[in-house]
Amino acid sequence: MNAASGGYRRRPLNWRGGLAVGAFLVLWELLVRFKVPGIATVPGPIESLVVFWNKYATQAAYWQSWLASFRRVLLGFVFAQLLGIPLGLLLGTRDRFRELVFPVIELLRPIPPLAWVPLSILFWPTHEFSIVFITFIGAFFIITINVFDGVRAIRREHIWLARSLGASEARIFRRIVLPSVLPAIGVGMTLGMAVTWNVVIAAEMIAGDNGLGRLTWEGYVSHTSTVVIIGMVSIGIAGYLSVLVISWLERRLAPWRD
């Protein structure tokens, strides 16, 4: 298969990364075993794994926590992309629209997503809606600004050349502007996904009645530190898997960058 036919090449396994994760777990276990000050009260990875295997691996409630968090992340993230990508494209390509709308975005953008929690709880009819909305906020401004910057970074020569060759504005948008912006969309999605997980966990701790954030918080409240560790590691794995999906999607959409 030639390089330009859109073929997807599987990347070789990153054994160094696996080794680093293994080394981290070994170091963590050793620090706990040797009761290094500050770490002594933290459960080690083996103890956490044993508790996980005996109590959580087969527990439906645990996996429902995963599902609940993933559903919120997915909903908030997808809505953010659906609104943020067209908005970023409009901001980047329409001067009047940018002059009108950009100041509002710049005013709202610095507000941390968690600062929206009280208003969100008041505004939306259920906590579920509130959490999804806050998750949406976490990804929305990131993708909007990334797409906007992506449009502004398009090389003028690429547009000029297409115009010289007689392309219509619609064709230029479809064949030149959109592919030019795809890498920026990929970056925006990756950053947005990371923030989305941060936000959903915090929102679940504040307002949720299930989810990985809630699980972690309940571990803290009940002084069950193994549960806190299981929650944290679960969140880490969930976030990592989400970013892997985004990276895969990015490579499929922009194979020329590989």
Binding site: N2, A3, L161, R163, G166, I176, P179, L182
Partner: protein
Amino acid sequence: MSELTSPSSGHIRVDGVSKRFAQADGGGTVALEDCSFTVEPGKLTVLMGPSGCGKSTLAYLLAGYLDLDVGRVTIDGVPVQGSGPDRMLVFQETALWPWMSVVENVMFGPLARGVMSRQDARREALELLAQFGLGGFGERYPKHLSGGMKRRAELAQALINRPKVMILDEPLRGLDVMTRELMQEYYMQLFERTHCTTLFITSELEEAIFLADRLLFMSPAPGRIIETMEVDLPHPRGFETMETARYLEIKRRATDVLNQSGAFQEV
């Protein structure tokens, strides 16, 4: 390949052209001032000038990417208004679209204007690429091509549209010395086959003399033409041309022009 262009068309006339760029602080930069020259059809005219003298601005005006402030630019008597496939510009930096394969880059123009079916455009693009020594690279992405190959792909991308005029804005800048010399000879051979009216912009004197039928010298900014020199070296030209007494004589005269004008003092 000669059917790709019409050597009898593409008479460029630039009359008293000035161009000023406004700046955010209210000031401005005058890039060109009272710039006038002609490019004869079927000839290769080389424009030389120091960095920042407005060479690229002039190329963009001819291509229709910028509007004139003062003056007039015509091609075959028709004023230039906006860009079009009759004037193809090869930029300093490659402008191949990295997300399209090389053949898709080349066939974009005929497809965009609807003058060829996809099948015909693809067949002609592949034929053209083969003629340009890129036969096996049509399905690759531009990033898989070397600097010289990208330049050749861009020439194919331009010539498939049968332009009246080719404008090459320092197309060999940034290439290593060996590739640059090979590309000079390559473009010379291409021109001798097509006789496509060409305005070739460069700041390299030896490259300019080797390629030119006529040399235009530009002043430092604001740019204007300060000297025109006919180059009557016989065709076909090869690297051996650069060792002839006539070439050396032209080079000496061109160097005198540059020294007297002070055009290259800041280079």
